[in-house]
Symmetry: C3
Subunit: 337 residues, 3 copies
Amino acid sequence: MVTVASLARQLGANYTGDGNIELASIATLQNAGEGCLSFLASSQYRRYLATTNASAVILGDRDAANCPVTAIVCENPYSAYADAARLFEQQPQWQQGVHPSVIVDPLVGIDSGCSIGANTVIEGDVRIGKNTRLGVGCFIGSGVSIGQNCILNAGVTVLTGAIGDRVVIKSGAVIGSDGFGFVRLDDGWKTVPQLGSVIIGNDVSIGANSTIDRGAIDPTLIGDGVKIDNQVQIAHNVVIGEHTVIAGCVGISGSAIIGAYCQLAGGVGIVGHLEIADHVTITGMSMVTHSIKRAGIYSSGTPIMPNTLWRKTAVRLKHLDKYFRSIAKEGKVKGTM
Amino acid sequence: MVTVASLARQLGANYTGDGNIELASIATLQNAGEGCLSFLASSQYRRYLATTNASAVILGDRDAANCPVTAIVCENPYSAYADAARLFEQQPQWQQGVHPSVIVDPLVGIDSGCSIGANTVIEGDVRIGKNTRLGVGCFIGSGVSIGQNCILNAGVTVLTGAIGDRVVIKSGAVIGSDGFGFVRLDDGWKTVPQLGSVIIGNDVSIGANSTIDRGAIDPTLIGDGVKIDNQVQIAHNVVIGEHTVIAGCVGISGSAIIGAYCQLAGGVGIVGHLEIADHVTITGMSMVTHSIKRAGIYSSGTPIMPNTLWRKTAVRLKHLDKYFRSIAKEGKVKGTM
Amino acid sequence: MVTVASLARQLGANYTGDGNIELASIATLQNAGEGCLSFLASSQYRRYLATTNASAVILGDRDAANCPVTAIVCENPYSAYADAARLFEQQPQWQQGVHPSVIVDPLVGIDSGCSIGANTVIEGDVRIGKNTRLGVGCFIGSGVSIGQNCILNAGVTVLTGAIGDRVVIKSGAVIGSDGFGFVRLDDGWKTVPQLGSVIIGNDVSIGANSTIDRGAIDPTLIGDGVKIDNQVQIAHNVVIGEHTVIAGCVGISGSAIIGAYCQLAGGVGIVGHLEIADHVTITGMSMVTHSIKRAGIYSSGTPIMPNTLWRKTAVRLKHLDKYFRSIAKEGKVKGTM
């Protein structure tokens, strides 16, 4: 429970209307009721403002006049909402200390303020920084270091690696598993030992069931502030520049180097041993087969269409080269053909 | 062991031949031997009927005359087979009750007939309905509710959410992890607290290592009867209509609304904040970038071809717009160019 | 610590220079320092040879003359490197025997030399061969058999199946979960019991968070020497021929038959009920919708391009069939139109 006036003060925002209104929970504009705080941060939702039953709405200057209820006005409403939501968040139960069921090697160093969930197993020579919280059933392998104020949810596996401060790793993620390295022999494949580490910077977030392999020799590197969604696969010796965002189901092959402040949309695939510049955005499900040297937005793939049309199009695609060769012979197409 | 006559009675089917034959196991037509029950439900396998060594075959009316052995004749042979197979299924060992190694908060309510596997951890305020079975090493977070007759296999993580009756969740699935929400700031990204739940209807199936995130504010919703295969990623605030089927490796971005009775084939990607009508089928690996308002089958992607041809085609594709622009200038293509 | 002379002897290699040099660790050519062993196995890295500070370099005959430091010369430098790296690998802590926290059914047979990690649970009728090592928190379901000299890392789930010798399964992998089988009914879907097994040959490697489902009736089959990367989904009744390599994020639908010595690059999708010949390579993110009967390299997908061009190209693709129909009418394109 927080009053409008108090919340506005905490957000560094102005407000119009009654500052004594008490806010008990958060809701979307369309679903909010009495006592709810809501927000307007995208034009897409502007249509719900006039009829909202929220008790107060966080919004920008341009929408304040049209707000039918108490308005909390600030420059970046989405950022202010994020701060406000933090107040209403029900934190999971982190009991301070090490649960009695935890199995810890005597050589582990756990700093003050940590919480280690039930059934978690921590091998030797592990270092865990202040106030870091490990959920239930995690496994932290020999020699791993984890910084301060990290959160590892239930069921995280860190086999090898050095993890920075304020890192969040979600359930089912596997960090530091052996990379996929084999030598081709005449009659099969020989495994190449994977000796490298995984180094994860500060303020990184890693999604549920994502995998980040250890390097073959040099480490796999995840820069500060990188945000990785669920089910992302990052192979050995990949380098991700700081503050790059990687959406769900992306796969990045070995030794690819991704710049800083990039955005990889869902399902993107990156071939190994290439380089992507800073500030590159790749749209959903695109396949990157060569280096990208300039900032910008890049895409591959074909548009969704009715299957009957797609079948005809697919046939045309199979003959595309032949068609154009035929047209070119007749001199009908100019240029680089 | 069941006799043909008894099985036919249980399936509501007729049979031809000897009703006293005893059936000990299930096998495919081509691999069946003495004592085996088999079935024919797809024309693809009809060629194996004449030479099968099964002792009895479940099949439809049109195939009965050609069955060289005892025929169990019914309208929907695949459905009847599913029922018959249930009789031969070796259920995993579910020992009733709570394994002594389980760590349960005293505030947890577990109804009668439940089975809770070894090393499972259940936090406070959890409610688990009658006859529900949790495998080994599951984690059920604070406040989660699970209905009756559910099966959660070994290693399932439910961080938050309300799960209906008769829901099956396979190993490694993560339900209710925080959605991927960040506010862009000048120098990086700020995490947006994820406050919403995950609501999963009745008769839902969720595959191994699939992930379903909790909503940002409103819940993520999975309708009754939805079937989700392995390694599917469902982002925050996605809504899936009832009885929709989602094959392996599908990724659905945040706030996408999928209709009822849809079928998403393997590897499909759905962009966020769009809407797909009921009864829409999307073929494998298609990318859906805009709303689909009518029932039907939709596709994207290009056909598989020899790599040498594909390389030429890829070059043509890069110049496709230019080619057609050039052709259009010469007045050779009519229509919407 | 190993001397050059001793290492060369172990590798069956010749060396030039001082055989008494001691090698303490492995590093890449560009990062190596005093006491480091390095290697040159790809022309891409040749530029680093002249300036390397390594104490010795494994390389091929053609590079020996240009090696500024002690050269260890052999026919297949990458293979020799793999053997050398084995000497420097820090093996994870495998404590022999069964950790006291392990929960094992009395009917389990565990051969000599095994190591079973903390909190692992093993159900009845399981057989585990000599010198096999199971990591922390694994689950091995009733009736599973695992061969000799296998390594299952922390958090592996094997629900059903028979696993050969020298198999490596990485963290979070789920083997033998029920396949995705449902019968369409008028008002939804009925589950088809999954009765088949998973049979995994010798020398197989399975990546982190990969899933291999059990068969519906006949087993799912993974041939000897198959190497599977992270986050790969293999559906029920898939058959993978020996020594085939499957990169990350590949999805293979039910009953697909993949030949021997194939290579599926990252993100490839294979439709069900088709057959791929031996020695077929599929390039990254391709979708295989029909059988491939001849060895060779195959591809689908479109090249990455700037988004502005891609948008224009996507529009052209939507009209591709119409354009060519229009051109054909005017007699401008010859051939199969």
